[in-house]
Symmetry: C2
Subunit: 211 residues, 2 copies
């Protein structure tokens, strides 16, 4: 039952990405992927050297899919748009994006995103050092936020989580936290993301002169 020709590098990558994104709980495995493609596990290894290499391809495809808007000439606007694009990508591909953040290896298609950010900041008059640092800062923010969002930290707390939190705070050891309880349990993802962007852009604007 050798069904030749059903597999392609690309088809495997797409299936892997879909599997990562769909299965929130049960995690990705080579064997499950093979099962879904109705193929022997080892068949995958003919197209990709190993799991890590396959993951690399998935990450490549993921970042390549990020829709970077054209530059407007307003660096603040451009940065907002680029960050929102990355966030949208994460929402569209939660599982893959998670894997990407933990991937710990350079993914070439990231260049596109970085280039857009570098361009915006350089054109705004930032020094080279400030630009490089600012981009890492922005990327760190967006990735962290996106992962938090995917994980559910920006949803209103469940009754259970809320009660656990209240119990933790009932001892009186954390008065500031306790006073913020109502705010903590009901976050607003969109507003919070914009808040972060506001802070970062205002801050960058502030250090632009002094850097």
């Amino acid at each position: 039952m050798n069904q030749r020709g059903t597999l392609t590098r690309q088809r495997i990558v797409e299936a892997a990405m879909a599997m990562l994104d769909e299965s929130q709980d049960r995690q990705f495995s080579m064997r499950k992927l093979a099962a879904q493609l109705q193929v022997d596990p080892m068949a995958l290894y003919h197209h990709h050297k190993n799991r890590h290499a396959l993951m690399g391809e998935v990450m490549l495809a993921l970042m390549a899919e990020c829709e970077i808007p054209p530059a407007t000439g307003d660096w603040r606007q451009d940065i907002r748009a680029i960050c929102q694009a990355v966030r949208q990508l994460a929402r569209r591909h939660p599982g893959s994006f998670r894997a990407f953040v933990v991937f710990e290896q350079w993914v070439p298609s990231e260049h596109r995103v970085n280039e857009a950010l570098y361009t915006a900041l350089l054109s705004a008059g930032f020094s080279k050092v400030a630009t490089v640092r600012a981009v890492r800062l922005l990327i760190a923010y967006v990735e962290s936020f996106a992962v938090d969002e995917i994980t559910g930290w920006l949803e209103p707390l469940t009754r259970e989580d809320r009660e656990n939190l209240a119990a933790d705070l009932s001892g009186g050891a954390f008065p500031a936290t306790a006073s913020l309880l109502e705010t903590i349990v009901r976050p607003d993802a969109d507003a919070e993301f914009v808040f972060g962007l506001d802070v970062l852009i205002a801050g960058l604007d502030g250090v632009r002169a002094s850097a």
Copy 2:
């Protein structure tokens, strides 16, 4: 050969933390931990329900170890000091900190850190909503930075990585990135961390009035 009494909840937690921190490459496993403690793997399960629960205990111990400096009355200074404390914790416990960031579950000893940040911001006059958002932003930054640092992204690039990067950029598709090459390959972790703090604090100062 039943060596009774050698195991303790605490001893297991400490050994697990040490193993996470030391073994940079090869990853932690229950069996390896048991081997190191010279005990049958299943012995661990008498003291901790399962791997996840054990990890929870490790995270608890980790965050409890974070040395939060006393408040000075200057919120900017306090925030800097707290963030540096978290960064130092990450440097002292790279493996555990990594695991912590990916842990995806609430760790009670985090309260201490959050409380300190909440207190600083509330005392500076931030609104409740701004305070909660600012703290998530600060934590996101510090954790991201610390993980980058642990992973080695803030070390000067190796000759090999540098050549790969140069090759990627040689096509001319990323002129801004190419112009920053020399800056990118030689980062300065300490300065970069401070840069991020400067930006965040300046930015928070900026939105304080308007929020």
